[in-house]
């Protein structure tokens, strides 16, 4: 079966993944809403997953895709626990603005 890599090469996927990862970093630094920061983390995880799949196809090895499964499992666990923490923070503080979380500040 033909794949896209014959037409555009694996390096185009590298550039796309790098740009997507930078956008995720930008979201983390720019926003104060914790939920949007979570979404930025998801964008970064997906950028790395896409690079793994591109290289798995490039080397014709199934291991890369297996790693993507594990990273998806970790992402699902991270989102479940993280959102539970956010709900708990929201109950105690009334907002999820990370600048309000200053209880540990001396």
């Amino acid at each position: 079966m033909e794949t896209i890599l014959k037409e555009i090469g694996v390096e185009t996927y590298l550039y796309l993944s790098a740009l997507l990862f930078s956008i995720g970093v930008f979201g983390i630094l720019l926003r104060r809403n914790a939920i949007v920061m979570f979404m930025s983390i998801e964008i970064m995880l997906n950028a790395v997953n896409m690079m793994l799949v591109a290289f798995s196809t490039y080397h014709q090895d199934a291991s890369g895709q297996v790693f993507v499964f594990f990273s998806m499992a970790v992402a699902a666990a991270e989102v479940a626990v993280g959102l539970a923490i956010l709900v708990s923070i929201f109950r105690n503080h009334g907002s999820v603005d990370i600048d309000n979380l200053k209880n540990l500040k001396g």
């Binding site: 794949t3 896209i4 998801e42 997953n49 196809t57 708990s88």
Partner: protein, 170 residues
């Protein structure tokens, strides 16, 4: 043909990712992120990873985004009441974004002479059959650990979000 599809999908991916981080309303962010995940599943289909594309749609667009949307609605955040960051922080974030992108792209641009062109041997390596064999032979132990991780995450999520209620009962 494939090239056009790739560039269209890439534009959708990057555009909706930018929309996700720039929308003031978290619900709009979540909906843009769903479109972004669908376009990434399209990339997986282009790379011939059909099973992974389906799993990606089910896990990300289905489970994770529904969880996030429910949380947003539970917290009643569907209004843009986010106070603005100081302008210096925004400028710093933009500079950091440009630097990260520049460094990553500059590092990856040098790889072009190193990676040779794609050669397809015709071997089946990413059907569900082969993936299942690799997953349950080579990666048996990490697979079991992933199941333990998901169980612990489930218990932890329930415990963390219940703790407040128990305290108020006492």
């Amino acid at each position: 043909m494939g090239e056009i599809i790739f560039y269209a999908l890439a534009a959708v991916t990057l555009g909706t990712a930018l929309l996700t981080i720039f929308s003031r309303n978290p619900i709009h962010s979540a909906l843009s992120l769903v479109v972004c995940f669908f376009s990434i599943a399209g990339h997986y289909l282009l790379l011939n990873a059909q099973f992974l594309a389906i799993v990606h749609i089910i896990v990300y667009s289905g489970a994770i985004m529904i969880l996030m949307l429910f949380t947003i609605m539970l917290m009643n955040l569907n209004k843009d009441d986010e106070s603005h960051k100081p302008i210096a922080a925004k400028i710093a974030a933009t500079i950091a974004f440009c630097l990260v992108g520049l460094v990553l792209l500059a590092g990856l641009l040098r790889t072009k002479p190193v990676v040779e062109s794609y050669y397809y041997s015709g071997e089946d390596f990413q059907s569900i059959k082969v993936l299942g064999k690799v997953l349950l032979n080579e990666y048996m132990v990490p697979f079991e650990f992933a199941s333990v991780l998901l169980l612990v995450a489930m218990i932890g999520a329930v415990l963390i979000s219940k703790k407040d209620k128990e305290k108020s009962l006492k």
